[in-house]
């Protein structure tokens, strides 16, 4: 079977820090990494292909340096990588991004039919998780979001059964392929690429496709194809620190703190503390 994984290169948000003086983001020196959820998607796609045979194609939309994320996917065992990079794609919002990715998937599927599309449930830089549903809707395939386990793939009859995490529990769902899966971290742990695989992944060719290669309508791409625009930017209201009590130096620090707390926040505390007393009585 043929699986396409959509991946995204993101800034490593774990490294992002705030400049305490200006209260702005320090972005210099922050590395770009492959979105961790997407790596899980690649890993499980590779596992599926190891079990059922077939091929994994990874695609990513972004500036030329996105190539490194694609190479990382290749080192994990993906077979083919395509970079969607074009000035015309810049400034894309969700609608334009899902259009571009769906066009690319249609193009790939035209020569090699696709059974599954897999992506992370969200990107750690945006956390919106809307591209999966968007791509699915454009391609008309079955959508499974928040997949934590792949139970069964019935290639002969074209069905897949997965476990999805939903509020209050998880559900086991069976649906038709082609399907798009957005995956949870629980689905798998990306393997460590061996040295030969790493070296091989660096030698492999990454194809670059632009607007003409995916036969896209120019008015639906990038800024032009994005209904939403940023109108203004502001700094979030910063919270200023308040009182400090040093329990390392002062034995009475906790007592002093409680006195202040019960004095200043008396209304809030009595509401919280009395409410439960009432209900339990």
């Amino acid at each position: 079977m043929h699986i396409i994984c959509c991946i995204k290169q993101v800034p490593d948000t774990a490294q992002v820090k705030i400049d305490p003086d200006t209260n702005t983001l320090i972005r210099s020196g922050v590395e770009s990494i492959c979105n961790p959820y997407d790596l899980v998607a690649v890993e499980s796609a590779v596992q599926l292909v190891e079990k059922y045979g077939g091929k994994v194609t990874v695609i990513s939309m972004g500036p030329p340096q996105t190539e490194s994320a694609l190479r990382e996917a290749l080192s994990l065992g993906a077979h083919q990588a395509i970079l969607l990079s074009d000035k015309a794609f810049a400034g894309s919002d969700t609608l334009a991004t899902s259009y571009t990715l769906a066009r690319a998937i249609s193009k790939i599927g035209g020569s090699e039919p696709v059974e599954l599309i897999m992506c992370g449930k969200q990107a750690i830089d945006g956390d919106t998780g809307q591209n999966g549903p968007g791509i699915t809707t454009r391609l008309g395939c079955t959508l499974f979001t928040y997949v934590s386990e792949i139970r069964d793939v019935d290639i002969k009859n074209g069905f897949i059964t997965v476990r999805r995490e939903v509020e209050g529990g998880s559900e086991i769902v069976k649906g038709k392929m082609p399907a798009l899966l957005t995956v949870e971290l629980q689905l798998g742990t990306p393997r460590y690429a061996s040295l030969p695989e790493l070296v091989k992944s660096l030698r492999e060719e990454v194809n670059v496709w632009g607007a003409s290669e995916i036969e896209a309508l120019p008015e639906r791409l990038g800024v032009k194809g994005s209904p939403t625009v940023v109108r203004s930017i502001s700094a979030p209201e910063a919270r200023k620190g308040g009182l400090t009590f040093n329990a390392e130096q002062d034995d009475k620090a906790v007592e002093n703190f409680l006195d202040k707390l019960f004095d200043r926040e008396a209304a809030t505390l009595s509401e919280i503390l009395m409410k439960t007393k009432g209900t339990h009585a």
């Binding site: 305490p20 945006g126 549903p133 079955t142 509020e167 769902v173």
Partner: protein
């Protein structure tokens, strides 16, 4: 004003202001702009001085000589006159007969926005046997409730719910459509917005109206929560937005409110849909935990991961009639389930009292709790970001501080009770 070797007035980027949104890169007709270390850079020899980048920049990071004429290039062609769309719609999310509280929070917000626009609030209620919820929707602020009650909508499937909501949007034509940013709402909003080919802004923390242009102003944290971006959707309708639970205030329930309940015809073929073959509920001790709805939260961080002290922290939660939550590293260590995680990849919380114990306060955590009313932080490191922003910061070893807090709060709440009783 900078000129290039051809003597042309060219545009220039102020790197400190640039947020790396790349709008100018896409706008430039001669490909003179590229990204360098996340900041746009203009090649002055290629630049033709057209000023498009100046017009499109949302943060005024472009220096250019022409008089400032702000004309943001909204996208695409308008398919239907925008005036055809009126009113604010809210998706009322029902799971197993229970309404997600965020739906009522949105109904309350929609009421406020509708008053500014002089329009009605429509509740979009979709499911199987959901009729009984319609009245409550009116009590919480809806003027009409459009109900699609259909057996195959008993279980959520993206396709069936997507179809139902697209149909309602096409019939009612709301100018604004709001959904909760729950797992279900995120799944659904992406499907609906794509089918309607309209803009969608996810995880908004603020919604307002620009009355002059009748635009919804959607504010959301971006770049790890350190910048707030206000986003608009000019030429497409409805203007769609999802909002996280607990961000908007719960409106009062007014049973005297009147409204219209309308049943809407709908059909979908079963063969189109995936089938839910089984449901595995989360283990009992976890179900019902909703850290977004508790007035006091005891949040355990990486610096308080000693399992021996966990019962003590639970006791503290108990005396404050709150519950235990945690930061991401604690979930990664396997000490607590994901359902209790606060932060960007967990839940957004805004309790009356937030007590962070050994929580350093990474940006990703702060995004998810900065709306808390009062923040108390306990940490051995006085320079941890959370300590510096807390209303009350206690420096020290939590294993020694927490027992004192437990007895101290117990004593004081007892005396409070005594005072109350005459």
């Amino acid at each position: 004003m900078p000129k290039n070797s051809k003597g042309r007035n060219v545009a220039e980027i102020i790197p400190d202001r640039c947020i790396g949104c790349q709008l100018c890169v896409g706008e430039c007709p001669v490909e003179a702009i590229h990204m360098e270390a996340d900041v746009a850079k203009i090649d002055s020899e290629i630049c033709i001085g057209c000023g498009r980048c100046f017009n499109v920049c949302p943060v005024d990071a472009v220096i250019f000589e022409k008089p400032k004429k702000k004309q943001l290039t909204g996208a695409g062609q308008v398919r239907r006159p925008l005036e055809d769309y009126r009113g604010i719609a809210v998706f009322i999310e029902v799971r197993n007969g229970v309404v997600a509280p965020v739906s009522w929070e949105l109904a309350g917000k929609a009421r406020e926005l509708a008053e500014k626009l002089g329009v009605s609030v429509h509740g979009f209620l979709v499911g199987a046997n959901v009729q009984m919820v319609a009245k409550a929707a009116i009590s919480y602020g809806c003027d009409t409730v459009q109900v699609i009650d259909y057996p195959l909508l008993k279980q959520y499937t993206s396709r069936a719910y997507g179809k139902a909501l697209v149909q309602l949007c096409e019939q009612v034509k709301p100018e604004v459509f709001l959904l909760g940013a729950t797992p279900l709402g995120r799944d659904l909003s992406g499907v609906v917005a794509t089918q309607l080919e309209t803009g969608l802004t996810a995880d908004c923390t603020g919604l307002n109206i620009d009355p002059k242009e009748r635009l919804l102003l959607m504010t959301r944290p971006t770049f790890g929560g350190n910048i707030m971006a206000t986003i608009v959707c000019r030429n497409h309708r409805p203007q769609m937005s999802t909002v996280r639970p607990g961000v908007m205030k719960m409106p009062p329930k007014d049973r005297s409110r009147l409204g219209e309940i309308r049943a809407v015809d709908f059909s979908i073929s079963e063969s189109e849909l995936p089938v839910v073959v089984d449901f595995i509920p989360t283990p009992e001790d976890l179900s019902g935990v909703d850290i977004t709805r508790v007035p006091a939260l005891i949040v355990v961080g990486k610096g308080a991961c000693d399992a021996r002290y966990l019962p003590m922290l639970e006791e503290l939660a108990q005396v404050l009639s709150g519950t235990i939550a945690c930061s991401r590293p604690v979930v990664q260590l396997g000490l607590m389930p994901y359902i209790r995680q606060v932060g960007q990849t967990g839940r957004t919380v805004a309790p009356k009292i937030y007590v962070g114990i050994g929580v350093s306060g990474a940006v990703q955590h702060l995004v998810g709790m900065q709306a808390s009313e009062k923040i108390i932080a306990i940490n051995i490191d006085p320079h941890a970001p959370l300590m510096e922003m807390a209303d009350y910061a206690i420096i020290g070893d939590y294993s020694k501080i927490v027992p004192k807090l437990i007895t101290g709060i117990r004593d004081r709440s007892r005396s409070m009770e005594v005072k109350r009783r005459p």
